[in-house]
């Protein structure tokens, strides 16, 4: 299994949306995919088409001592999603305490999952610094850092790498620009700056801001079938092909397919 953690240093850059979009696209390309919502916001299942906020999930399972992954849902696109589940302040404090004492908890849980080889596991996380994101990075084979085309993301650029070297030094890190509006000169300039700073580690396919995504979510529809000729669909396809050909090609999980 090939494990990807989707992280970011800045908030609101569209991690969950990107996770959901990538998962749907992977499944469309006949690659088995499981998403883990490791974010107390518990919004990934909604983005993947669940019509109400999931009550069950990995946190309630943990608290009730159930096996990890029992409350996973599967949507009509055959994307499996393990929601975070309903939480409250008390339960979160307990859980986070547990995560701090056992930094490899998620990693060990994932090992137990019986999943076909060559499958993808996408982990959505809250923004850094956070124990959830750290757990996901420890468990991951590849970390995707999501950037927004703004000065904040540019300023926080070293944060992701620093966090990763602390918890999982050997792990591969790539950056993806999300929510780009190329009609704005400032954003294009910033993209150029990111490009010169990150070089080959930045995906050549920035994901554009596009009405097609909120429209697809609102209609509980698949982006690729609702607006196949939208720019964002093109971007995601490009990003995934780039991932499969480059960063995700030389890893053990992929080699088995």
């Amino acid at each position: 299994m090939f494990k990807i953690a989707i992280v970011s240093a800045a908030g609101g850059v569209g991690r969950s949306t990107l996770t959901a979009s990538l998962a749907t696209l992977l499944s469309q390309r006949k690659i088995a995919v499981l998403t883990v919502d490791f974010d107390p916001q518990n919004s990934l299942s909604t983005l993947l088409g669940s019509d109400e906020v999931s009550l069950g999930g990995l946190l309630p399972d943990f608290l009730t001592g159930k096996e990890f992954g029992m409350s996973a849902l599967v949507n009509s696109n055959e994307v499996a999603c393990l929601p975070f589940g309903r939480s409250n302040e008390v339960s979160l404090v307990t859980f986070e305490q547990h995560l701090r004492t056992e930094p490899e908890w998620l990693k060990q849980c994932i090992v137990q999952i019986n999943y076909p080889p060559g499958a993808f596991l996408l982990m959505d996380t809250p923004r850094l610094p956070s124990p959830y994101a750290r757990q996901a990075m420890v468990a991951a084979d590849l970390v995707i850092a999501v950037l927004a085309p703004d000065a904040r993301s540019l300023a926080l650029l070293p944060a992701v790498e620093a966090a990763l070297t602390r918890c999982n030094p050997g792990c591969q890190l790539i950056y993806v620009m999300n929510g780009l509006d190329s009609t704005r000169a400032l954003q294009s300039d910033l993209l150029a700056q990111f490009r010169s700073a990150l070089q080959m580690r930045l995906s050549p396919y920035p994901i554009h801001r596009d009405e097609a995504i909120p429209r697809a979510v609102a209609n509980w529809a698949n982006l690729q079938s609702l607006s196949p000729d939208s720019l964002v669909a093109h971007d995601l396809n490009g990003l995934l092909s780039w991932l499969l050909a480059g960063p995700a090609s030389n890893l053990d999980g992929r080699a088995k397919i």
Partner: protein, 853 residues
């Protein structure tokens, strides 16, 4: 005059021109006895199958085509009566329906014959083993590499043997049967050879062609010159000289293009600090800013260390607008007080003010691609004596031939031969010419020869000649790395070619490549051919009128039996055509050279002649580009020579028909030969007339068709991916997957990609039909324009697949196509003639009306 008329009428067989009944008798009631006594040629005592056939069928006059038709297809065989019926009147007496029926039958039979022949040919081919032409080509190339051929004594032996046999083949007289066999053998060999790709088969075809042409030339020189009357001899010698000229140019061309070098690009050292400084010169004189602007923006985007690249606009028009633009774009701006020596002087002036180690020159309408310097400079590192590297002049707008005949991107244009083949051929002999634009020169050698040559109006070729004389080398890379606009009208095209012709003639006169120091034998041949090429004016006119001397005046300028002439001239023409089709195939389709030359022939005679006798005369004329032709029109002024020639040929054709059926039935072969020559000339002239019908050209900026990825951003934040159909400096033509209706004037953004970097441009919808969308840019800033140029015109691969969709050369198809263009040309002439008369009629009526009041 009177004597001439009397002579003409006598020739026509009317001995008392003032007696009208004689004229009537002559033309309407021809009687065999009144015509000159036919001097029939008998083919010795050899049994003549034709005579036997004629006897069996009952054909009385076997030199009459009509009789053959009648007896073969109309009279039943048992009805053969040897009565002396006037066969023509019988034929005319038949009802029109039967004639129609007969005609359609004839056509059917002919078609069936063609089918049968084709079937037979296919059967024949199926018996032969299949040949993998590619493999044969490779093996032939392999032979060249074998060391067996490297022994000097063997080579000399082979050369001596070849010369002996060559002499034998060229000079041995044959009977008609022998010559026919010679034709068939050579033709068969060539038909086989032409299927094999590669250079060696081309050389073999060249050898066959040289054999056939030399044999024809020998026979023509030794046996066919009439030496009886002065008048005939004069015409005969003119034709002979014209033929000798084409023969020389053909042979020189073979040498020139024997082994096209096809130079590859070389990579540069990885360390950019070793890269030299380059000055880019963009000379301009009277071109509008909108032509220059994209060129400068494209030049700014050339991929080269920015501290080592300086761009200069050399403005001989000294315009403020240009100065402001140069400031805005951040490029140099150089002017001079006078316009001495035009472009050459302009460049030389700038040379004095700049210091780059290399100079790249672009005409103001030639947009360089961003990879221009990276792909060209490598050779200067490898070859330290290399003084100049030329790349092709590529045109993304149709030239006047392509536009008026509708052959854009389908038939290789006039320049394709030079840049596709001739320069590559020159390169092998180290004789690549400088072509004035899209080239890089090393400053040192250029200054050594005193800058760009100013003595002639083709300063470019002359500069290269001077460099070669000093022992420098030049190089050619046949990859289009810059593109520009073709001349927009026939008159400006002709103007440009006149300049080239004059310049080449000037060089031929004042700095003749055949004499003087410093050149190798083959360099002399390459330069010599390039210059001689421009003297085709008079020979071409001679060929266009030669058959008329017989058709009008019955002057036999070639003293030989028609059949014999055909047997000698056919291998010469066939082999030359097949060889050239193999060598030039992708760059010049068969027979198109005739069209290109015929259009210019008349116009370059005077300039070349003047230049030869007085090289100082004449001034530099600038070629106008980037204009528009608002309305289709017929260029009466330019087309005058073609119309006169065509009229002469049409009259000749009708006289010829008369000769064929009535007056010269004793030499049907000669008449037929001259008639077919005239018809061929008429077709070529028709195509030339077609070129003079200027098609409408409304777009101010030319659209380049291309399939580029585009993203459309709409106001509501949604997007759509699509592809371009074409692009221009002002807008895009887009094609979407689905139908999309957008209101005109709607604001959108369009994104284009340059490599991986995306650029978005504001635009407005100007047309929306089905899944097609036209958008026009909305006030782009200069930076946006530069980005747009980099995404489109200056892409490294922008022009690399340009001729992929071009038709392959099939000589017969090509001939058919030109024939069709010929017919269309006459149709257009006819229509425009009608229009012209109507206009005159109207103006006359208007004038009359005014007089009445």
């Amino acid at each position: 005059m009177r004597h001439f008329l009397l002579w003409v009428t006598r020739r026509l067989g009317v001995f008392r021109p003032n007696q009208s009944s004689l004229w009537l008798k002559r033309f309407w009631l021809p009687k065999a006895g009144e015509l000159a006594e036919p001097a029939r040629l008998e083919l010795g005592s050899r049994p003549d199958p034709l005579a036997w056939l004629a006897k069996e069928l009952g054909v009385i006059d076997r030199y009459s085509v009509w009789q053959w038709v009648l007896y073969l297809f109309i009279y039943p065989p048992d009805n053969v009566t040897h009565t002396k019926i006037a066969s023509k009147s019988t034929f005319l007496a038949l009802p029109i329906q039967i004639i129609g029926l007969l005609f359609s039958m004839l056509v059917r039979i002919a078609l069936a014959g063609v089918q049968a022949l084709r079937w037979f040919w296919q059967r024949l081919l199926s018996f032969l083993p299949a040949v993998n032409n590619e493999a044969v080509g490779r093996r032939l190339e392999g032979w060249l590499e074998t060391p067996t051929f490297r022994k000097p004594w063997l080579i000399w032996l082979l050369v001596l043997c070849s010369i002996f046999f060559f002499w034998l083949v060229v000079t041995t007289p044959f009977t008609w049967l022998g010559q026919l066999l010679f034709l068939v053998c050579l033709w068969g060999a060539a038909l086989f050879m032409r299927r094999i790709p590669g250079n060696l088969p081309a050389l073999i075809l060249i050898t066959l062609s040289v054999l056939a042409s030399c044999r024809y030339g020998w026979w023509r020189l030794t046996q066919t010159i009439p030496l009886d009357s002065g008048w005939e001899t004069f015409l005969a010698i003119s034709l002979l000289l014209a033929e000798i000229y084409t023969w020389i140019v053909l042979l020189l061309g073979y040498v020139q293009n024997a082994w096209p070098l096809k130079r590859q690009t070389l990579s540069l050292p990885a360390d950019t600090s070793l890269w030299p400084t380059v000055d880019v010169f963009i000379p301009t004189y009277n071109e509008p800013l909108k032509v220059l602007e994209p060129t400068v923006l494209a030049a700014k985007g050339i991929d080269w260390p920015s501290d080592k690249l300086n761009i200069y606009i050399l403005d001989d028009g000294r315009r403020d607008e240009f100065r402001r633009f140069a400031e805005e774009a951040g490029v140099g701006y150089i002017i001079r007080p006078d316009n001495l020596h035009a472009k050459a002087g302009n460049l030389n002036h700038a040379l004095k003010l700049t210091h780059g180690e290399y100079v790249a020159i672009f005409d103001c309408d030639h947009l360089p691609t961003s990879s221009f310097l990276q792909l060209t400079m490598g050779w200067f590192f490898k070859d330290k004596r290399c003084a100049m590297l030329q790349t092709p002049h590529h045109f993304f707008s149709p030239d006047t031939f392509e536009r008026n005949l509708g052959t854009f991107r389908r038939v290789p244009n006039e320049g394709a031969l030079f840049y596709g083949l001739v320069q590559d051929g020159n390169d092998f002999w180290n004789a690549t010419f400088f072509c004035g634009s899209c080239a890089v020169l090393r400053r040192g050698p250029l200054e050594e020869v005193g800058g760009v040559a100013v003595e002639t109006v083709t300063e470019d070729a002359h500069t290269a000649l001077k460099l070669h004389r000093l022992g420098y080398t030049t190089a050619y890379i046949n990859i289009p790395l810059a593109a520009g606009l073709a001349t927009e009208s026939l008159s400006s095209h002709i103007g440009q070619r006149i300049r080239w012709a004059r310049g080449m003639a000037q060089i031929f006169r004042i700095d003749n490549p055949f004499i003087g120091k410093g050149l190798s034998f083959f360099q002399r041949i390459c330069y010599g051919n390039a210059m001689l090429h421009f003297f085709y004016g008079i020979p071409r006119l001679i060929f266009l009128t030669a058959p008329l001397t017989y058709l009008y005046f019955e002057v036999h300028i070639i003293s030989a039996a028609a059949a014999m002439l055909a047997l000698y001239v056919l291998p010469h023409m066939l082999q030359a055509n097949l060889a050239n089709s193999h060598i030039q195939g992708p760059h010049r389709h068969s027979f198109w050279a005739e069209v290109y030359e015929s259009v210019l022939a008349w116009y370059i005679i005077l300039p070349t002649a003047v230049a030869v006798f007085n090289p100082g005369a004449g001034k530099f004329n600038v070629t106008a580009k980037g204009g528009l032709i608002e309305k289709s029109f017929f260029d009466w002024t330019i087309s005058k020579p073609y119309i006169v020639l065509a009229t002469l040929n049409i009259v000749g054709l009708s006289i010829g028909l008369g000769r064929l059926f009535f007056w010269n039935t004793f030499e049907t072969g000669t008449v037929l030969l001259n008639l077919s020559w005239t018809i061929y000339n008429l077709l070529i002239l028709g195509a030339a007339i077609g070129v003079a019908t200027e098609a409408r050209q409304v777009r101010v900026s030319h659209r380049v068709s291309a399939n580029l990825l585009v993203a459309l951003h709409f106001k509501d934040g949604s997007t759509k991916m699509c592809r371009t159909e074409d692009y221009s400096m002002t807008g895009l033509g887009l094609m979407l997957d689905q139908e999309l209706k957008l209101p005109v004037k709607e604001r959108v953004w369009v994104s284009l990609w340059n490599d991986e970097v995306e650029f978005a441009f504001p635009a407005r919808v100007i047309a929306s039909h089905g899944n097609k969308l036209g958008v026009q840019f909305d006030n782009l800033s200069i930076e946006q324009e530069a980005n747009f140029v980099q995404c489109t015109f200056a892409r490294p691969d922008a022009w690399s697949n340009w001729s992929d969709e071009q038709d392959v050369d099939h000589p017969l198809n090509s001939l058919k196509e030109i024939a069709i263009f010929g017919f269309k040309g006459y149709r257009s002439l006819w229509r425009n003639l009608g229009k012209g008369f109507a206009r005159q009629h109207q103006s006359l009526r208007g004038w009359l009306g005014r007089q009445m009041i």
